[in-house]
């Protein structure tokens, strides 16, 4: 019809070759799938889409990780949020931002990091729980973090009056932190040294002792 002969239509390749280096077909398949997904793709999803056995898929991913390492490429393969994701190499972030005419999102405030820390380590938490942990009302900060999709309401606390919403961290939070899962963070106890805790305890006991002494003095005067 358009003058194109049947034999001119390109046939699917049995193996993929590239000028740089031949990539095994399994790796090429996974590479193609990851390219079209902006979200991390889990291993089960990759297996389902490619029909590859798990061992072969794992080997292919390792091959891709070598090829797409920060030292070798402008694109990197990340293991984040329970899956695999292609992203640009942060070394070239500025060039991308200039090209897209976009500024990098403003970093989060200290309060926002504290709220995230509360929810990550003590959560899922209600808003009242966040407030209790920080000692100040954090509703506005929580709202901002929900808007940025770093926190989400994932359930309800059935044991509290009014069944308030429970907040938890999101997949975007794991992406922003470069974490594979919640377990990919240091244990909270490890972040504070025992000596620091002892100092805080001593300080409070000192202040409490002073107050007690003052109260006794006032009592004696009366």
């Amino acid at each position: 019809m358009n003058g194109r002969k049947h034999e001119d239509i390109p046939k699917p390749l049995k193996t993929v070759t590239s000028p740089a280096a031949a990539l095994p077909e399994a790796a090429a398949k996974i590479e193609a799938i990851l390219l079209v997904s902006s979200r991390p793709v889990s291993l089960p999803a990759l297996l389902s889409a490619t029909g590859l056995p798990k061992s072969k898929a794992r080997a292919a991913i390792e091959e891709l990780e070598r090829r797409y390492s920060p030292e070798n490429s402008g694109i990197v393969l990340r293991r984040v949020a329970g899956g695999f994701q292609f992203a640009t190499n942060p070394l070239y972030a500025e060039a991308i931002e200039r090209f897209r005419e976009e500024a990098r999102p403003a970093p989060l405030s200290g309060a926002a990091h504290e709220v995230l820390s509360c929810v990550l380590y003590l959560g899922p938490l209600t808003r009242a729980g966040v407030r209790a942990a920080r000692g100040v009302n954090s509703d506005a900060v929580v709202r901002g973090l929900i808007d940025r999709n770093l926190l989400a309401e994932t359930g309800w606390d059935q044991n509290r009056p009014g069944t308030p919403a429970l907040l938890d961290v999101t997949e975007d939070f794991l992406l922003a932190a470069g974490a594979r899962s919640r377990d990919d963070f240091p244990i909270l106890e490890e972040l504070v040294e025992e000596t620091e805790i002892s100092r805080v305890r001593e300080r409070i006991r000192g202040v409490a002792g002073e107050r007690e002494g003052e109260a006794h003095e006032k009592g004696d005067e009366n």
């Binding site: 640009t88 990091h113 504290e114 470069g178």
Partner: protein, 248 residues
């Protein structure tokens, strides 16, 4: 709100005056009296106030600029919301109890535990800050996958049960034991107000000759009048005599 300049800018509600049983004058004056606690919030009938405001709006709505009207409405809603909150707290002290907890003296041991817990959260936040900074600058592929369809696995039994629930006609509740409803809250509210014009009245006296249904409706009417500030309720002891009287 006033293109002719009769009202100073920033006081969108300056022209709104109210005529209530407990107060008559500019709305802003009413707010001032409430804030200075010279007027009890539960004496202010909020429903009547809203009705007055709606009456105030209707003749203006045709002629005033939309933006001015919006500003005025916003101011009113803002102040009315605060009044509702204040009234809610006045009627239900439990609502204000949560905030008062903050002022409670806490023991040094409890303070210690709280501060140690906060310190850990703080260190966690610092670690997160560093981690976020290290992971900034990764831009993912611009492709967005469409929502996956057809991956939902249906359990036939669960589907059948859900369908049965969806199409099941809820049984009508039994109401025969209630008997015919022969009295309304409004009727009993009017009766209570008339009775109160002769002086304070105990709830027990009020319902002495009433049957169960009328007693229940009388109680609802009493609460309704109390919430509108048309009567005051006092019960010095829990489960003790309940006395109704007109507001002073």
């Amino acid at each position: 709100m006033n293109p002719e300049g009769a009202e100073p800018q920033g006081r969108a509600l300056a022209a709104f005056t109210v005529e209530l049983e407990v107060y008559s004058g500019p709305y802003e004056g009413l707010l001032a009296l409430i804030l200075k606690e010279e007027l009890e919030i539960f004496e202010v009938p909020l429903r009547e106030l809203v009705a007055l405001y709606r009456g105030f709006c209707s003749p203006h709505g045709q002629t005033k600029e939309t933006l001015d009207a919006l500003e005025r409405d916003t101011d009113f809603v803002d102040s009315a919301t605060s009044l509702v909150l204040m009234k809610g707290r006045a009627l239900d002290p439990a609502l204000g109890a949560e905030e008062e907890e903050d002022d409670e003296e806490i023991s040094p041991q409890e303070l210690e535990e709280r501060l140690v817990a906060y310190l850990k959260v703080r260190r966690g936040a610092e670690a997160l800050m560093q981690r976020f900074a290290e992971n900034a600058g990764f831009y993912p592929s611009g492709h967005s996958l469409r929502p996956r369809s057809g991956r939902l696995r249906l359990n036939q039994k669960k589907l059948a049960a859900a369908a049965r629930r969806a199409f099941l006609r809820t049984a009508e509740p039994e109401v025969e034991h209630l008997g015919p409803i022969t009295v309304t809250v409004q009727e009993l509210a009017a009766m209570i107000r008339t009775s109160l014009s002769y002086g304070p009245l105990s709830f027990e006296d009020l319902v002495r000759d009433m049957d169960r249904l009328r007693s229940a409706v009388a109680f609802a009417a009493t609460l309704s009048l109390a919430s509108e500030g048309r009567l005051t309720l006092s019960q010095p002891e829990p489960f003790g005599p309940l006395t109704l009287e007109l507001p002073r």
